[in-house]
């Protein structure tokens, strides 16, 4: 564009216009190609979920083309009237709410220690904590199953909540620590001079400044616990203790295996809360994801 304007004095007007026109045409074609690429990818990535939604409004045993003949609301009515999904929903909500409350606080408390206090063994403890991310879940699930069964915690929400009181996850502590270290120290030092105790400094000075990362950890706690499948599958085996994810899984085998499209409705239903949460907090989520991922 700029080049064309500066050249305008030297080149005959017609040739100049020609150039501008072809440049503009090129740009328009480029944009059309770009939109086509973006839309194709979107169609590809979104089509399974459109299928899931359509199927949730259809009777079983029909192909998608027969939608008008097979459309029904029965799957959704079944989903909401059937205890097979609604009791698990309640269980899931309890687990999610508890973890959304405790995980940000547990992890920020421990992160404060790693970011702002000095004690012997701090670096070693931090390294040992990070190393736990390498330990496969399947190595600890078995002994924990034995432990929880001895404590009589199986089939209750305790195995899925109590462990989170103890630090709330290594990756969350790591993210909190990075964030707290990036905050200016001066505020804390001022509070210290005013005689505030360490806990007051954590709760009154640092925590209010951690809002973005608090939201990130809370939102992650929501989606992780809402979607968690393996842990409840192992620790909650009696039918009246299923979470939503386990209920959907267990209903793929056994008596309810035939009700495929009720399962599709359950799938749509289960996808909606994380999607809403993601849309509401996308900025926090993407910033938080990249703190860990890019800085390594």
């Amino acid at each position: 564009m700029e080049q064309n304007i500066t050249l305008a004095g030297n080149i005959p007007v017609a040739a100049n216009e020609d150039k501008m026109r072809s440049a503009r045409r090129k740009r328009i074609i480029l944009k059309i190609v770009q939109y086509a690429v973006l839309s194709l990818i979107t169609v590809f990535l979104i089509f399974p979920f459109v299928v899931m939604i359509i199927r949730s409004f259809m009777r079983d045993g029909y192909s998608l083309a027969e939608f008008s003949a097979a459309s029904t609301l029965k799957n959704w009515k079944d989903l909401f009237s059937d205890g097979a999904y609604m009791t698990p929903l309640l269980k899931t909500v309890i687990i999610v709410v508890v973890n959304v409350v405790i995980m940000p606080f547990a992890s920020s408390l421990c992160a404060y220690s790693f970011a702002r206090t000095k004690w012997k063994g701090k670096e070693l403890t931090f390294a040992l904590m990070l190393a736990t991310m390498m330990i496969p879940a399947s190595i600890v699930q078995l002994p924990l199953y034995v432990l929880f069964s001895k404590l009589g915690w199986l089939n209750s929400v305790l195995p899925l909540t109590v462990p989170n009181l103890f630090g709330g996850g290594a990756i969350n502590i790591f993210l909190f620590r990075q964030y707290i270290r990036s905050l200016p120290k001066e505020l804390e030092e001022a509070a210290k001079i005013d005689g505030a105790s360490a806990f007051t400094r954590y709760a009154r000075v640092t925590l209010p400044l951690c809002k973005p990362i608090l939201i990130f950890v809370a939102v992650n706690a929501f989606t992780a616990n809402w979607s968690d499948f393996m842990s409840p599958l192992i620790y909650m085996t009696s039918e009246d203790s299923y979470t939503l994810a386990v209920a959907i899984y267990q209903n793929t085998v056994g008596v309810r295996a035939s009700a495929i499209n009720v399962r599709m409705a359950a799938g749509v239903f289960m996808s909606v809360p994380p999607a809403i949460i993601f849309l509401l907090f996308q900025k926090n989520l993407i910033d938080g994801l990249t703190v860990g991922a890019v800085k390594g």
Binding site: L38, L45, I46, L128, M129, L142, P274, V294, G296
Partner: protein, 323 residues
């Protein structure tokens, strides 16, 4: 005078001089803040890991231990007919799916970086499949990639003119099941797109401008600027991605009933992964805790060795001038 005062204090407080006391208090404060996580990693990570290590040398079945031996390892490597297939499947899946995801995520990020209106909306749509719960995408894709005429892709192909008798088998064949699972992973490529996008943002535009002036083409700019500048991110995501993929349990959902074998083993064991094997041994009714522990430790040892190899060969990682 001052000497006397100090002596008096020493007598009063003994070992704890004021300075030592302050230091101890500071130490204690910091330690107490971290106490929950110290207890947490001991109770919920390290102690259980050590427990399974010991169990792997016993015949523990949840009730009692009657003997100590190497039998579980012996059984694993010399008798269990499925185990090599399982290790092979797991390695193949981890070492294909993770790099594949990073490469596809790169191209998706290029598209998501187009300078056109509405791109943020497209980015959202690209990321949306990532936040769908795993159990949901499991049941969903066993329908989409259904191996008979009711599978959605087969339906579409029939509508487009594929002969009615012919169906793509997808998960219902030992030859195509692994490919189908990798194909399913393509839908969650939005995750690595986000990471590439922020990696792009961290690279100064001036580098690209200078390279363009020097006549570097798109490929050269990728190889000489984007990739070297993104190595910490590639490195981190390779490690965490591979560690995660080695523990994949998705087939447990796709093949919940176990069409030709144990639940989650896929058609002809084509999707039998280590984590699923461990689950089946421990919780599949037999309570073979000792054997499950032994397999889990082989997995852990492999992850540990892999991490050490990646870290010790990571001189190619560019961390910028500050670090």
């Amino acid at each position: 005078m001052s000497v006397i005062v100090q002596n008096e204090q020493n007598e009063k407080k003994g070992f704890l001089t004021p300075r030592r006391r302050r230091a101890l208090k500071g130490w204690l404060t910091g330690f107490l803040f971290a106490l929950p996580v110290i207890l947490g990693i001991l109770i919920f990570s390290y102690y259980p890991a050590i427990q399974t290590f010991f169990w792997s040398f016993t015949d523990f079945n949840g009730l009692e231990i009657t003997e100590w031996s190497f039998y579980q390892y012996e059984y694993m490597f010399t008798i269990d007919p499925d185990i090599w297939r399982i290790f092979g499947n797991t390695l193949l899946y981890a070492f294909v799916s993770v790099p594949l995801g990073l490469v596809l995520g790169y191209f998706l990020a290029l598209a998501a970086n187009f300078k056109v209106k509405g791109v943020p909306v497209y980015r959202l749509l690209f990321y949306l499949p990532v936040i769908i719960p795993g159990i949901v995408s499991g049941i969903l894709f066993s329908t989409i990639l259904g191996g008979n005429e009711f599978g959605v892709i087969n339906e579409i192909l029939h509508a487009l003119g594929m002969s009615a008798g012919k169906n793509f088998k997808f998960f219902l064949s030992g030859e195509t099941a692994m490919g189908s699972l990798l194909f399913m992973g393509v839908w969650t490529v939005g995750g690595s797109m986000i990471i590439w996008l922020s990696a792009f943002k961290n690279i100064p535009d001036t580098l690209y401008e200078a390279a363009k002036l020097d006549g570097a083409n798109a490929w050269q700019r990728l190889v000489k600027i984007t990739l070297p500048m993104s190595t910490p991110m590639i490195f981190y995501n390779l490690i965490t991605g591979i560690i995660g993929a080695l523990q994949c349990t998705t087939p447990l959902v796709i093949d919940a009933a176990g069409i030709t074998g144990a639940p989650g083993s896929g058609f002809d064991n084509s999707l039998y992964f280590v984590a699923i094997k461990i689950y089946n041994e421990a919780f599949g009714g037999g309570a073979y805790y000792a054997y499950a522990s032994a397999i889990a430790w082989v997995l852990f040892a492999f992850i540990g060795i892999l991490t050490i190899i990646i870290f010790s060969t990571s001189k190619w990682v560019f961390y910028g001038e500050e670090d």
